[in-house]
């Protein structure tokens, strides 16, 4: 009997052990395996650099550079005062001080840093961030101090060797809602998917000290770098445009200024700048309204620069020729309760169409518009690309709406002929005028020439959008534009020896339902050399105060830039 009891107890104990073993080795197997792996296996992220952005000659516009986040483990740091004191000195020295700082200010700033660091080290936390974007040099100096409990995380930040140049065409890299680096605006925004790399992962066994084991598990998922973009933008022309525009905005007291230079034959953008601009390396220091590129986003009434397009439509339809005389140009025109006048209230009764362009005669343009009619006018406006996106590869392009054809009245037909009552972006205007420099062919504008990754290079080819007017029409309008430069209001600024085709624009800005005579958008659009155009350019000043006229503000800037581009391209004068 006693034997049976003992035997039963032993059996029960044995069963208990078996059950327990079964619980730990079968039921909890996955859980324990995972925990063991967690202790044994280290996972290390290999950062993938964002793709670089290069000028058309391969020089760097945006690349990446390593920076460091310095963190502390407050619970294990012994000498917090000393650490805080030393780190404050290093952090202060690492910051960029553009202006000289007095000893007193320096001491105050270091003391503030020291107090901030000490406060963070006093927190009851396992990990705390002390400073971000620390340079390699400073990191190496801190490493040599051998502070226990201070560590470094590598981060890859954007680096701009040209500083704040090309800010609007570049955009910037910020963080999305998950904290992941994301491009915004410009090329960074449009090509964010291509520029982003894919981080890699290294899985390996580690020992008790956290060091890798040579003969243990070692699995690598390679990091994939972002693709590199080569732009169509020419570094020298971009520099020329920015310098002249900056000088101009100050000289003419304008609220803002923009310029865009394009190759009319391919649609390649070779220069694009706007002011005020911002530093793409520090976007948080600038107002958000500076981020959007006015050239692709701001709609405005183009004014007289639009006349060349309407004239091209009239000539293309064989309704007028350069020598056709205007029979309604003797005085102001009354239409639907409105009076249409010339900009200087001077009237030439027998103006030819060439004279209309030379003298920027609004009444002459109404003559052309009436011959076209609403249907044909609307057709050509849409054919020239207005009312829809150009398709440029910059993020957040905007196309002002075109009022539906059925809503157009006679007064709308008249005013649109001289570029008022119709809205367009600077990009739309320059692209439309570029078609006249390209034998009547409208091209799609683009910023990126090629995209390179580890598999090869993808070249982006020019794309024809439409044949808007015939080559003969384009040539005829070009000659009218050349005469406008040689004999019009901008003749005092033209470049001697060069045939430049151009048109001034002075568009009044609508304010609270009426036009303000003192607030204008002053612009000049043109291309050169007229016989074989190498570039088309638009310069625009918003509300210049030195003079409201495009002929006295945008035109001189245009010709200054053109002169330098001629020198850069080795284009000699063709006339004595």
């Amino acid at each position: 009997m006693r034997f049976r009891v003992i035997y039963s107890c032993l059996l029960l104990a044995f069963l208990g052990i078996v059950l327990r073993l079964w619980f730990w080795q079968v039921i909890q197997s996955d859980n324990l395996t995972a925990k063991a792996e967690e202790q044994r296996i280290s996972l290390r992220t290999v950062l993938a650099p964002r793709g670089s952005i290069l000028f058309n000659d391969g020089s760097v516009l945006a690349s990446v550079q390593p920076t460091f986040l310095i963190f502390a483990q407050p619970k294990i740091i012994q000498n917090k005062e000393l650490v805080a004191d030393k780190l404050a000195q290093y952090f202060w020295a690492d910051e960029l001080h553009l202006a000289p700082v007095s000893e007193e200010e320096k001491a105050k700033e270091i003391e503030n840093l020291r107090a901030d660091i000490k406060d963070k080290l006093s927190k009851d936390l396992f990990w705390v961030s002390l400073q971000r974007k620390v340079t390699l040099e400073t990191k190496q100096k801190i490493e040599r101090e051998n502070f226990f409990g201070i560590g470094f995380d590598t981060q890859l930040e954007r680096f701009y060797p040209e500083g704040s140049s090309s800010a609007h065409l570049l955009g910037f890299v910020g963080a999305d809602k998950y904290g992941e680096p994301t491009g915004y605006f410009g090329v960074e925004g449009f090509y964010d998917g291509e520029l982003k790399g894919k981080d890699g992962l290294i899985t390996q066994d580690k020992d008790a000290q956290g060091l890798p084991i040579l003969i243990g598990t070692y699995k690598v998922k390679e990091a994939k770098s972002g693709k590199d973009l080569t732009l169509t933008v020419d570094r020298t022309i971009q520099h020329i445009v920015e310098e002249n525009l900056l000088e101009g905005i100050q000289k003419y007291g304008a609220k803002s200024a923009s310029a865009i230079v394009m190759d009319p034959k391919t649609g390649n953008i070779i220069g694009l700048a706007s002011y005020p601009n911002y530093d793409p390396g520090k976007p948080a220091d600038f107002p958000t309204e500076f981020f959007k590129d006015p050239i692709t986003v701001d709609g405005y009434e183009p004014g007289s620069t639009f006349k060349v397009l309407v004239m091209a439509a009239g000539i293309n339809e064989h309704l007028v020729t350069p020598d056709t005389q205007c029979d309604i140009c003797a005085g102001p025109i009354n239409l639907g309760g409105f009076t249409i006048r010339t900009w200087n209230n001077e009237y030439n009764p027998n103006s030819t169409m060439s004279d209309v362009i030379i003298h920027s005669d609004n009444t002459g343009m109404v003559f052309v518009a009436k011959k076209l009619g609403i249907d044909k006018m609307y057709d050509y406006v849409t054919k020239f690309g207005f009312g829809k996106l150009t398709g440029i590869d910059l993020q957040d392009e905007y196309a002002p709406d075109l009022r539906p054809k059925n809503d157009w009245k006679e007064i709308d037909l008249a005013t649109s002929s001289f570029g008022q009552g119709i809205s367009a972006t600077a990009l739309q205007i320059v692209r439309a005028v570029a078609s006249l420099a390209n034998g009547g062919v409208l091209m799609e504008p683009h910023m990126v020439k090629s995209i390179k990754d580890d598999k090869g290079v993808v070249v982006i080819n020019p794309r024809e959008v439409a044949h808007v007017v015939t080559a003969e029409t384009a040539k005829a309008v070009t000659e009218m534009m050349v005469k406008a430069v040689e004999q019009g209001e901008a003749k005092f600024f033209r470049l001697k020896g060069y045939r430049v085709a151009g048109k001034t624009g002075t568009a009044q800005i609508p304010v609270a339902g009426h036009y303000d005579a003192n607030k204008t958008i002053a612009s000049f659009v043109g291309f050169a050399p007229a016989d074989d155009p190498k570039f088309v350019m638009l310069v625009r000043y918003d509300q210049p105060t030195a003079s409201i006229y495009g002929a006295e503000t945008a035109a001189p800037t245009f010709f200054n830039i053109a002169r330098q581009i001629f020198t850069y391209y080795n284009i000699a004068p063709t006339e004595q």
Binding site: S59, V60, S63, V64, Q65, P66, L136, T154, F159, P161, E162, G163, S165, K206, D207, Q209, L211, P212, I213, L214, I215, R235, T236, H239, G497, T567, A572, P573
Partner: protein
């Protein structure tokens, strides 16, 4: 009979020798394996050292490339050119073939 017993004794001695040698070799291999595993397992510091050195060199390379890009930026070149005494050209004269007196031989 004695010869057979002697032969059997000799054979037994040889087989013991073989077994002893086998065991000794096994022990040596075991010790060697433990020793080599131990050695390799402690290579972690070396691996970390090489990885850090490789990462540092790559980083230095990137920094130098960026430094080169910065020093060759147009703004930098322009400011250095001004310091060296270069000045922007404001007027350029183009010489055509007609402007040159051709000297015949």
């Amino acid at each position: 009979m004695n010869t057979i017993i002697e032969h059997l004794k000799t054979q037994k001695f040889h087989s013991r020798k073989v077994i002893a040698t086998g065991i000794a070799l096994l022990l040596i291999m075991l010790v060697a394996e433990i020793w080599s595993l131990n050695r390799l397992a402690t290579f972690g510091t070396q691996i970390t050292k090489f990885e850090s050195a490789s990462a540092a060199l790559r980083m230095e390379n990137e920094m130098l490339q960026n430094k080169t890009a910065e020093l060759t930026s147009l703004n930098t070149i322009e400011s250095h050119a001004l310091i060296l005494g270069f000045r922007p050209i404001h007027s350029i004269e183009y010489i055509s073939a007609n402007d040159v007196a051709l000297v015949g031989h």
